[in-house]
Symmetry: D2
Subunit: 252 residues, 4 copies
């Protein structure tokens, strides 16, 4: 099957890659959590439009690919919630007025200091199509990795998680940084291709390629759903209260 | 000037990148350290030969580009040492016999469990052309980032470093992971293009592009040497003993 | 001078301590920040009363000693703000309804799951007598150390801080945990005795003793004020906006 | 039963402690590892003698209590090894000649810069009575906590450990710092009283008291052995090779 990154590799890359031994299928364990990284208005824009348009209003927006990924993530969420797999959202922290806490971000991108977006939409809110439930874990972060300066690792140890299903944005930025950290802590990782997105086409493809080579299994949504099917239902019920979610479902 | 990554970007990438605001020149501070990541026989092979050949003996080798970078790093080292800028090397830790401490590495690359290389060369030794001095800092690590599970950050705080000059390999792997962590701790970062290398051509170019966009200044060796020229000599003399080095120079 | 811990030491302790070599005065550097740990209603109660009383309403309260320390901290804050030394507050995070994020805390103290306090006072709010300004740094944490799962270290590197003046509560709990982490990152540390407090008398005294022996200088408020006098005014003005504070002072 | 810390508590301490709610028995999980902290010649001296004597040769020595704990740790080790529970040793790193990497340690204890001990004994070697096997995990560290700047957490996640049995020294220093970190990552912790030791009597007792109040279960060796009895044998056999150990036993 043709991979999204094939177009970007050189002939030499294809040859060396095989000999180096990378890209094996690592597989996932029996205790996963679902990690949804930064799927906020800042990175999606407030409506579906091409990235070239969207970026004029929301300078971090990834445009249409974001909204395609949101659709696929709805499907993924539905299956994960049925098994009561923990769902962990990350998003950014609203900056101080003086921008101090943005730190190094503004050194490389001075626009980070400007107001973005349109009225009625808070940039750091998760888009309403996949808005978190009260029972989900919700992690606010300042840096690319979902682990940096957060309690994510503490929560994962508490839950006894052994695998992370990773989605969100940007593939080459916060997704990749989080995957490298998760790999470094020896978690098994599946990156769901249809549920990740980036404003850069080459960056997106090469991030998937690099992650699949060394750190994570780059999986299709279909394969991910099949994997979730194999996970026992309710394995975290003694740790985490999914009750509100269950009530919510009952009420619908 | 044509950049190494231009070939890999799509037309849309070029357009969106500008509007997003990334790629500003961040600049370096006044208290740098030089970080040389994993320039060992494992990643260079024991002799200069094309990567397609070298990888047959050393499966992680990056081939000729490694040796080109070693040449440039000799120049860089010479200037850094003259100013008594701390030089920090990283390399891998020899694995347990059962491979346990390699952890997730072997899930994606089963060759990690096999013996590599040729007799007379220890894979984790820094190549002798740029071998560390006794007074350099030497950090052994198990994971991509030079910060993960090491005392690097502790040493940087002790020294009062504000900037890192980053070189070594692989650009898309350990260099990038270390840069993302350094960025997250708010260090200013210069990645020296001629002194970094990777076995993958697309991975190398896109890692430089992504880092330069968001996390670090991708600098030429020439610009780096000009920067070092501006650093005051001996600013770390009260913290770190460069004595052996000075003796060594005197003896030559 | 008689120290608060003298009463608790054994004769052998006094002898061995000297021979071991600990307890040297380390001194502080030239770039301090002030860290105020968890001085919230949860740990002070909502009014000054003996700990034996206060603990019936607020099970974590430290009673009168808390309010004595608050008085002293007002003095300390006044002098630190005059020099525009960064002030960093920490406090707890309001728990999820299911208590999941409290984690190990509830294993040792089941009362952590119960509602505490009296109406009109939010347990995690800093007491109004030393309430933070908008320009202060404000860190919410789940664990004892102010560094664990927070961006404190990132901010300290950004500021170029080399020393921490530490106050707050509990001396044997979050203060000590934060001091051990700060020590491990090679920050110079002054613990201000009059501005720290604990619900346990022996725990308080021995925490001061242990910290002073190995990790930090246990300082009187008077010595701390003298030290602050030596700090240059406005050394962080290029990093942090103290403007609102200045305006606030002007308006008063 | 009378506790080692009773002597040091004040009357008020006893009253407040109960109302605060601390000191509950947390219990251990089903997947433990055994952590043996810094039981080296530096902290034991090279022979059993009273601390007042031993400290003249080895300034960090804890004297006779160290050797009592070594005896008890032999018993503990025997039972842990029979179940093939991972055994993790920590010890210090030999310092650079210029002492740079000792960092803040030397600020509070200038003796840290001097040579210690007697010929024939390397200070950082684990005492031979409980010397590690090749198959044990062996962690070298610069700072109090076994987690700081090490791969301990990475290994624990890989193993799927949920509980730590903690022993070693000093109770108020490296043991306590490691316990606070383990608590912060939500591990269940048992501190084995007979297998911990400290050069300070008050520090030892109050560290046990504080840890038992908030972070860990302070357990007798007997209770610990009973707990180990309940652990399934060989639960880590798929992760860690205990082969050499098994061979060693067979050969004896």
């Amino acid at each position: 099957m043709k991979k999204s990154w094939d177009h970007f590799l050189t002939d030499r890359d294809r040859q060396v890659f095989g000999d180096a031994g990378y890209g094996n299928n690592a597989g996932l364990g029996s205790k996963p959590a679902l990690l949804i990284i930064d799927v906020s208005y800042d990175f999606c824009g407030h409506k579906r439009e091409p990235v070239e348009e969207s970026v004029k209003t929301w300078n971090l927006s990834c445009g249409e690919e974001a909204w395609d990924a949101v659709d696929h993530t709805q499907t993924l969420l539905h299956h994960a919630r049925e098994k009561r797999i923990p769902v962990i959202y990350t998003t950014g922290i609203d900056s101080r007025l003086d921008g101090f806490d943005r730190g190094a971000w503004t050194w490389k991108n001075p626009k980070m200091k400007e107001a973005q977006g349109v009225e009625g939409f808070r940039g750091n809110d998760i888009v309403k199509e996949i808005a978190p439930l009260e029972t989900d874990l919700y992690i606010e972060k300042l840096k690319p990795s979902a682990f940096h300066g957060t309690n994510l690792l503490t929560h994962l140890v508490h839950l006894g998680v052994d695998s992370l299903i990773v989605t969100g944005t940007t593939t080459s930025g916060c997704v990749r940084a989080s995957v490298v950290d998760a790999f470094s802590y020896n978690y098994r990782i599946g990156v769901v291709e249809e549920c990740t997105f980036d404003r850069g086409q080459a960056s997106h493809a090469m991030a998937l390629y690099d992650m699949n080579a060394k750190y994570a299994d780059c999986m299709s949504l279909e394969d991910t759903l099949q994997y979730i099917e194999t996970v026992d239902e309710g394995i975290y019920d003694d740790k985490l209260d999914f009750g509100s979610f269950k009530r919510k479902v009952a009420a619908e």
